[in-house]
Symmetry: C2
Subunit: 335 residues, 2 copies
């Protein structure tokens, strides 16, 4: 895991992007991560606070960052998440890193974009267990927030549109450029070892790349989990059919990004695979009808670990304090 | 809430410290916060990671920062904390900010120092619900940690001493200098308004300062909660007697720091007071036998809000990923 430590390394990466882009990236099925465009920095700072604020939950204990933890690859690294009153979530929390590159949000794609997604967990009784109205009551009572919302949106009243827009704007900044693989794509030929390169070749020739491609190495299509052999899921989630109502969409899930996959264990929508080696083995058998040898498996895993990019680097936000009139969280009330 | 934004403001504060120290601070019962001394920066960086790492809990979900949240005044802002399996804690989580200035740790002072304290919640079945042995198994399996522990401590084996030392070292940096009150103490006479100054006068003349004094404005003695009138606590905790075994120590608790008290609501060891106004009223009646008028109460509250200092400013740590061999958290196993 590398981080942007100096402006020098940023400049270096920008330089590489210009220099190498025409050489390699265009002919490969995976593209390097680009810096986010047209970002509203005021909105990002506000969204960052909201992302870390557990007062958007009924308990006052769960924030976006609880399950999409930016210290841990934007996930919680447990099979399914813990919600209000320690409820067990139905599905693995997908990483928020590079989520802006997904064709839609949630495993079943039921939210069109990050803004629509952001409203979901707040009001989900099994997650943050709040309501949008109650969350807005809390935010509107906090002078530090009313000031900042007014500054960013130019309106007197906070609404849920503003809240989810700001969270989404922050999330758009959570991309992870400069992975070793991207440096290789951009022309730095010694960025990968021969083993990693052999893994990438296998990844392409064995068919993984058919679904895991593009800038996010996934995230751009829905595919059936268990194509050649059925998958015995621990989760009851049926995927895309819950959105489309079509029986043919049963067990179709959004293909997860493989960016930072070294950090986003455990794997699959039910979090059943603890290791990359296990995940590669299952994917090979169930999706491609191919049993990878231990050597092939190790090479693909080595390649996958080159997809870890610069993790988002920012100062932990300090949240504006509640006022006397702010409704207090009710962590132990019946639910 | 101000933050150290530039090195200029640090230099300014340092300048003030030199210039004003002999003028005012020495004759007052409250002293300005000083910068921490003799800090081992490598240990701080390691301790910061451990402080944010939920893998020190059985569930993989609860870190030190969950209940001593550095985005929220080093507390969780709920009456009593949420532990493993959503257990309700017996007592309000005290702020970690300036905790290094306390004469002992926990409300009943059962830990001599920060290092001793840090081991408590990890192994408390109602909090992080882990054991030191299991936590060490996790840390020792993570290459990023074994490397960093070796670098910092020069030993091959991670032990609980090192873990708690590193967390304590990070916590020593969590002081909050440059509150408006400290600037006033250091000679900047227009740092406080007349109302705030009147509040400070009342704070001294009515006797609050008898217990809330020194650098932390508290934290340096144990006192009986309910001295003049008994306190009807929501918590069953009996305080200092649990440590000394003496009946005369029943309901003696460590006097909490009033530094950043604007951020550390709700108040008292049972978290029963939601607002500063309520806390000042109860303290006046139960500890001093004095009913503050609304005007007096407002003045004291105005003074208390000048005790909010620079909040610790640092980059959110990125945690080293688990290895294939790392024991996985068990958030939903029976407990």
């Amino acid at each position: 895991m590398k981080r942007v430590l100096t402006s020098l390394s940023v400049a270096l990466a920008a330089g590489l992007a210009t220099w190498g882009a025409v050489h390699a990236a265009d002919s490969e099925p995976i593209q390097p991560i680009r810096a986010p465009q047209n970002i509203n920095l005021g909105m990002v700072e506000l969204g960052k606070k909201l992302y870390f604020d557990p007062r958007l939950s009924k308990s006052g204990f769960i924030s976006c960052n609880s399950c999409h933890n930016l210290s841990m690859g934007g996930t919680d690294n447990i099979p399914t998440s813990i919600g209000d009153h320690w409820q067990q979530g139905p599905i693995n929390a997908p990483t928020v890193l590079n989520a802006s590159l997904n064709l839609a949000q949630f495993w079943d794609g039921r939210a069109a974009d990050l803004k629509e997604q952001a409203g979901g967990p707040i009001a989900n009784p099994g997650e943050m267990a709040f309501t949008h109205t109650l969350a807005l009551n809390v935010l509107s009572s906090i002078p530090g927030y009313t000031r900042e919302f007014r500054q960013v949106f130019g309106k007197d009243k906070i609404d849920i549109e503003q809240v989810t827009l700001a969270i989404a704007e922050f999330e758009k900044t959570l991309v992870t450029p400069n992975s070793r693989f991207d440096l290789w794509l951009l022309g730095k030929k010694d960025a990968l070892t021969p083993t990693e390169l052999a893994g990438y070749e296998l990844f392409k020739t064995s068919g993984c790349v058919a679904c895991h491609n593009g800038e996010a190495v996934g995230g751009n299509s829905f595919q059936k989990m268990g194509l050649i052999e059925p998958y015995k899921a621990r989760s009851k989630a049926e995927g895309r059919s819950a959105v489309t109502g079509k029986d043919s969409d049963r067990f179709n899930f959004k293909v997860p990004t493989l960016r930072n996959v070294e950090l986003t264990y455990p794997y699959f929508h039910d979090g059943a695979a603890n290791t990359l080696s296990e995940a590669v083995d299952v994917m090979g058998r169930l999706q491609l009808g191919r049993k990878f040898s231990p050597d092939e498996n190790a090479k693909i895993v080595a390649f996958l670990k080159t997809l870890t990019g610069d993790q988002p680097t920012f100062t932990l936000p300090i949240l504006p304090p509640s006022a006397d009139s702010t409704p207090r969280p009710t962590p132990f009330a019946a639910h």
